[in-house]
């Protein structure tokens, strides 16, 4: 560990948290319809799509529209992937994707997961990358923010029957937030050396006389939205470790910032919408503390390195396996931690090669439900669910029926929140267990022992939590994993989001109680620590036995000189 390393982490936090305040205020303005600088375009979109922007939706309408929209986009993407050979922008003449893999990929990009069971530069055409994957990166990110907007609105007033209009939210978020920031970021990326071209692979003759075919393509825009929308699906198989995705330490910093920006801005936006900024800051603080612990933990573990390599004299300063020399350890671990604290899942260093403890950090951050700060939108509504739990468990201790932001938390909300958490737990642990009981599942593992176990656990966690990162040792393109993880992604996204929209609908209808000295305070440091405690106990404890058998066991075995 070096002072420079710690300063890099501090710099990332300063840039992200500093930007969260103006960005949050801006997002609140977008969601409240106060941003109008591209109003003609916005109106044209509504007219083209036949959307009545005045129509407010009940939570059921909102949820149905969300499902419908996602289903249509899934079908569209599936068709594009299957038919990409016949579609334009295919200079490399890549064949259509096989049905199983196309299903997995279409689900993956529709659910904002971007789990990649395929090798992009060999299996996806430029056209499919742009029209299919990049478009979905925008839509699925905007859909997540829209769902969060619906949940946020539920707390803003009493006796509401509607939560806004999904189509309007998606249009505004895309038009006013995602597109402008991504275009600016993409220009910077191009300037830094990221390709944005329709030309096919470059051919290079090496000094030794060998011929190399170097993959390239329209990378820059997809790279920007991949981070900003916490999607994570790389243009190249090597993801952000590839020099064409992430050429310099500055693009690495920018991409880390993009990954975290919206996640931390949304609680601030929530505070603005509530007209109670302290509430938003409290949620942001809890997110930031968890992420900071994760960054510190992963950096410390990787900087300490692999004891066997150190004994062998192979390295003096940390675990460099799977890391880019041009970034160094702190920038690598921070990137990966940011990508797993969110639902991004992009990597610039390979988690499979991390020390067991270093790799446990991304795994645990995902298992906590991705709330530090979480995927765009999903992070906010997930942490709100934990806030409801916190208030419900500890709020009774002030002697009142628990309420959060003036809304009483009662049996219905608890039931729905519990259902959502159960879905996540069931898929992560159940999926891992089932896979390990089958020959097919065991065949996907590249390593034996606890490391192999971690690979499988990581895969199911990543899919269910819609993260998309992987321990690369897992061969995921099998019947079991393509379909199984596809189902995990679908349920992890929608079987989680819809109960939460239902909670929002139920809370919206309740009267908003004015705060009084007898109300449980949810804007101070006490609540922040309570919330963190509840996230760890309710979100993480159920995974502890599995994590003990995976990364923890491996760490202790490694120290005893045993590797897998």
């Amino acid at each position: 560990m070096t002072l420079g390393g710690w300063l890099y982490i501090v710099l990332v936090f300063a840039l992200v948290l500093g930007a969260a305040f103006p960005l949050g205020r801006y997002i609140a303005a977008i969601l409240e319809g106060r941003v109008t600088w591209a109003r003609p375009v916005e109106v044209a979109v509504y007219r083209l799509a036949g959307v009545d922007e005045k129509r407010a939706m009940r939570w059921q309408d909102y949820a149905i529209a969300m499902l419908l929209l996602s289903f249509i986009h899934f079908l569209l993407l599936y068709a594009i992937l299957r038919l990409q050979y016949y579609l334009p922008f295919n200079p490399l003449h890549i064949q259509g994707m096989a049905p199983r893999l196309a299903f997995n990929t279409a689900v993956s990009f529709t659910t904002n997961t971007n789990w990649q069971a395929y090798a992009p530069e060999q299996q996806v055409s430029y056209g499919a990358q742009m029209l299919g994957l990049t478009v979905h990166n925008f839509i699925s990110a905007a859909a997540g923010i829209a769902a969060a907007a619906a949940v946020m609105r539920a707390f803003c007033a009493g006796g509401l029957s509607t939560l806004g209009n999904l189509y309007v939210d998606i249009t505004r978020v895309t038009l006013y937030l995602l597109l402008p920031v991504c275009i600016i970021a993409a220009v910077y990326l191009v300037w830094s050396g990221v390709p944005m071209t329709f030309a096919g692979n470059a051919t290079a003759h090496t000094l030794s006389g060998a011929v190399q075919s170097i993959a390239r393509g329209p990378v820059a825009l997809q790279e920007a939205i991949k981070e900003f929308g916490t999607n994570g699906g790389g243009f190249f198989n090597a993801n952000a470790a590839h020099p064409f995705e992430n050429p310099t330490i500055w693009t690495n910093l920018l991409e880390t910032w993009l990954t975290l920006a919206i996640g931390f801005a949304l609680p601030i936006a929530f505070g603005h919408m509530l007209k109670d900024k302290a509430q938003g800051r409290a949620l942001m603080a809890a997110m930031a503390i968890i992420l900071a612990l994760g960054c510190a933990g992963a950096y410390a573990a990787e900087a300490a390195g692999n004891p066997l390599q150190i004994q062998a004299g192979a390295t003096a300063n940390g675990n460099w396996e799977g890391k880019e020399m041009r970034f160094g350890i702190p920038a690598s671990t921070t990137f990966d931690v940011a990508a797993t604290g969110t639902s991004c899942g992009a990597v610039d260093s390979f988690i499979d090669s991390y020390t067991p403890l270093g790799g446990a950090v991304p795994l645990f951050l995902m298992q906590l439900g991705e709330v530090a700060p979480g995927g765009v939108g999903s992070g906010l509504y997930t942490i709100i669910v934990f806030a409801l739990f916190s208030v419900f468990v500890a709020g009774l201790m002030v002697g009142r029926t628990p309420e959060y932001l003036g809304k009483k938390v009662q049996a219905k909300e608890v039931k729905l929140a519990m259902l959502a958490v159960l879905v996540l737990t069931g898929f992560i642990l159940g999926g891992t267990a089932l896979s390990l009981l089958t020959a097919s599942g065991l065949g996907s593992l590249a390593n034996a022992g606890p490391h192999g176990f971690s690979e499988m656990l990581y895969g199911w966690t990543s899919a269910t939590e819609n993260n998309g990162s992987a321990m690369a040792g897992l061969s995921a393109d099998t019947d079991l994993l393509d379909y199984g993880l596809g189902a995990a992604m679908l349920f992890g996204r929608f079987a989680f989001m819809i109960p939460i929209l239902a909670i929002a609908g139920s809370l919206a209808a309740k009267p908003k109680l004015p705060p009084s000295p007898g109300t449980f305070p949810t804007n101070g440091p006490l609540f922040v620590f309570l919330l963190i405690g509840v996230i760890i106990i309710l979100g993480g404890l159920q995974f502890l036995p599995a994590d003990t058998l995976g990364p923890l066991a491996e760490q202790f075995l490694l120290q005893a000189g045993k590797t897998f």
């Binding site: 009493g158 419900f392 468990v393 500890a394 009774l396 201790m397 002030v398 002697g399 009142r400 029926t401 003036g406 938390v409 009662q410 049996a411 608890v414 039931k415 519990m418 958490v421 159960l422 737990t425 069931g426 642990l429 159940g430 891992t432 267990a433 089932l434 390990l436 009981l437 065991l442 022992g449 606890p450 176990f453 009267p511 908003k512 109680l513 004015p514 009084s516 000295p517 007898g518 109300t519 449980f520 305070p521 006490l526 309570l530 405690g533 106990i537 309710l538 404890l541 159920q542 995974f543 502890l544 036995p545 599995a546 003990t548 058998l549 923890l552 066991a553 202790f556 075995l557 120290q559």
Partner: protein, 677 residues
């Protein structure tokens, strides 16, 4: 019911019965209402079966037997907690039942004729029957007086032995079955069917026979059931993970892990906490018609309090003397005292008390003195002692009768007193104006700090009074209430409640008259006075047997205490999980990966002893917390933020730390006796 002497926390009689009941409650069909403990019972059964199988197949079974035994104890402690709580309620109900007697009622054949009646057992009376009750008779059932006036001893219900007056019409027309008519007679129309009287309902509620889960309890139950399911998934999938790692975890080990992780502590104590909350109200001589009402009391944001009797003593009292120009204070005080010597009203006595306490004047009745009582004609009272005449009365009356007008300063002082909401009395001696007495509604001492404490809890107090706006405002300011309703009528009380409720706040009030009934019904917590009318008692959701309106404040505190106890034990229970992981996880995995011994940070002796210690702790903590569940966590009016900090520290942090110590201690004791170590 005699003023319920708080039943000792654990009386031997209750414990004996509870021990038996706790076994009866093991019936799974009954236990299923409590999902956490139900799961624990199934697991205990499973481990028992596995132990039996081990014995049958001559495998080592000692560990399974011990784990099974402790799991059964866990379930038993939970059912025992509920049984004790119910037992305490039953003990209270028994003292109520004594008053329910097999009275013979005098059923009138013709309500207009009090001579012809048919003796009928009280149990056969029906709603609408008309009965005669004479001196020495027990009133056979609840009813409304339609004719007559009598003094009634209601100590059977209220514990208060002084008889109360009951008469037809007005606010004192309700009578309660089981109370005794001491003088005169009453004709009563029965208003409750047999078995449905007020007393019957009280007994049923106190016994917990009709106990239904409250909304908060249901929500908490869902959370606990959900947590149980989550940990069930974690433990079941663990078998597959073990299989991958080449280990087969035994049933007792997995059972121990599951039972330690699911929230058995709060699951076992939840219903006891609810029953005990109702019980605390009963000890306090307040009967709630449902647990929901007790819970609502904790949520109340606004209290409507009657001015008279709750905030003030109810009588105007002398507060100060104001001498007229040129009159010595001492002379005025003496004249006031003399003018009041023959005045036996509370006001007169308060004037004497003021003269004595503040001015040291306590005149005796002068020889030949003659008290002049208050007359409606002159509206004056006073004293003639042969040489002098002393008069006191309303300012106008003194002026009109004696012609003594007083100067401008005098007039201004009188106006000033009236503006402050008090009443000025003028005093004259021998036709000369000496000064003024300020008569004032005296606010009860300490009530202001009480209201401040309520405000810190986020509860607003609203004073309800028939006084005019001016007087009401002055007293409101003095008592420190947040708002007041002056010139209160049943309608504007109801309107006020609706207005506050429309802001999303919960309102509590108490009342006794029939005209209070709509407001009592509208309020979220309506406390009817036992002395009130039947209509009021039906409309409220609580009845105060002592008819003491100040109790509303304590009722709110009891409601809060119930919720706090539930929250505290839930937090404690969930926080416990962390330490149990550190006890059990290394123990069950160390066979697979010996290096995981490093996680055994408590240095427990052996895996078996570690698992057993966690299970024993888990069981004992339920038993250890039964007294807290029954007594309730103390409520402190220190504001939500401070209260949360305090309780989080004790039950949250304590819940994390305590089991580390407890499990280590149990392991040490097991080690001492070489049990599994």
């Amino acid at each position: 019911m005699a003023k319920t002497a708080a039943i000792a926390l654990f009386s031997p009689g209750i414990l004996r019965r509870a021990a038996l009941d706790s076994v009866i409650k093991l019936n799974p069909a009954r236990l299923i209402r409590n999902p956490v403990i139900f799961v624990t019972e199934i697991i205990a059964g499973l481990v028992t079966f596995s132990a039996a199988w081990s014995i049958h197949s001559h495998a080592p079974a000692a560990f399974a037997i011990v784990i099974a035994a402790w799991l059964w104890l866990t379930v038993l402690f939970a059912t025992f907690a509920e049984a004790v709580a119910e037992g305490r309620g039953r003990a209270q109900a028994d003292s109520l039942k004594h008053t329910r007697s097999d009275t013979m009622a005098k059923l009138l054949l013709d309500p207009r004729d009090r001579v012809l009646f048919k003796p009928t057992p009280a149990a056969d009376l029906q709603k609408g029957d008309i009965v005669l009750v004479e001196a020495g008779d027990l009133i056979p059932s609840d009813g409304e007086i339609i004719e007559g006036l009598a003094s009634v001893n209601e100590s059977a219900v209220t514990g208060e032995s002084a008889p109360v007056l009951r008469e037809a019409g007005g606010d004192r027309s309700a009578v309660t079955g089981g109370t005794l008519v001491i003088s005169d007679w009453l004709v009563v129309r029965i208003t409750a069917d047999a078995g449905a009287t007020f007393l019957d309902r009280m007994i049923a509620l106190v016994e917990g026979a009709t106990r239904r889960k409250t909304p908060n309890e249901i929500a908490l139950d869902i959370l606990l059931a959900g947590l149980t399911l989550i940990f069930l998934i974690a433990v079941v999938t663990l078998t597959a993970f073990g299989a991958y790692a080449g280990t087969r975890f035994s049933i007792p080990v997995l059972a121990a892990l599951l039972v330690c992780l699911i929230p058995t502590t709060i699951g076992g104590l939840l219903s006891a906490i609810g029953i005990a909350g109702m019980d605390r109200l009963v000890c306090f001589n307040v009967i709630a018609t449902s647990g929901r009402a007790v819970e609502a009391a904790g949520d109340v944001d606004a209290l409507l309090l009657d001015k008279t009797g709750t905030i003030t003593f109810g009588n105007r009292m002398a507060a100060a003397f104001y001498p007229a120009a040129g009159v010595a204070m001492r002379d005025l005080a003496e004249a006031c005292a003399l003018a009041s010597l023959g005045d036996d009203t509370p006001e007169g006595r308060s004037i004497l008390a003021l003269a004595r306490e503040q001015h040291g004047i306590a005149p005796q009745m002068p020889p030949g003195g003659r008290a002049i009582p208050f007359s409606a004609n002159t509206r004056l009272s006073g004293l003639d002692d042969g040489t002098s005449t002393y008069r006191k009365g309303a300012v106008d009356s003194i002026r009109n009768t004696l012609g003594a007008v007083g100067d401008a300063a005098f007039t201004e002082t009188a106006a000033c007193i009236a503006r402050a909401g008090a009443t000025p009395l003028a005093v004259a001696a021998n036709g000369r104006l000496l000064g003024l007495i300020e008569l004032k509604d005296i606010v009860k001492p300490g009530i202001k700090t009480r209201f401040a404490a309520l405000r810190a809890m986020g509860i607003r107090t609203i004073m309800v009074t028939g006084d005019n706006r001016l007087t009401a405002a002055a007293i409101a300011a003095e008592a420190g209430v947040d708002d007041y309703i002056a010139e209160a009528t049943p309608q504007n009380k109801l309107d006020y409640i609706r207005k506050v409720q429309a802001q999303g706040r919960l309102v509590a009030m108490c009342g006794d008259g029939t005209n209070d009934a709509p407001a009592l019904a509208q309020a979220d917590v309506g406390v009817a006075m036992q002395t009130g009318t039947q209509a009021a008692r039906e409309a409220g959701n609580m009845v105060d047997l002592d008819s003491d309106p100040t109790k509303l404040i304590e009722i709110v505190e009891i409601g809060k205490q119930l919720l706090i106890t539930r929250g505290a034990l839930t937090t404690f229970s969930i926080a416990n999980d962390i330490s149990k992981y550190f006890a059990i996880l290394p123990a069950i995995f160390v066979g697979t990966y010996p290096q995981l011994q490093a996680l055994n940070i408590m240095h427990l002796h052996t895996p078996e002893s570690a698992i057993l210690s966690a299970v024993i702790f888990n069981a004992l903590v339920i038993a250890a917390l039964v007294p807290l569940a029954l007594k309730g966590v103390k409520f402190r009016a220190i504001g939500a933020a401070a209260l949360l900090k305090r309780n989080l520290l004790i039950y949250g942090l304590g819940g994390i730390v305590a089991p580390f110590a407890g499990i280590k201690l149990i392991d040490a004791i097991l080690g001492l006796f070489h049990i599994f170590s």
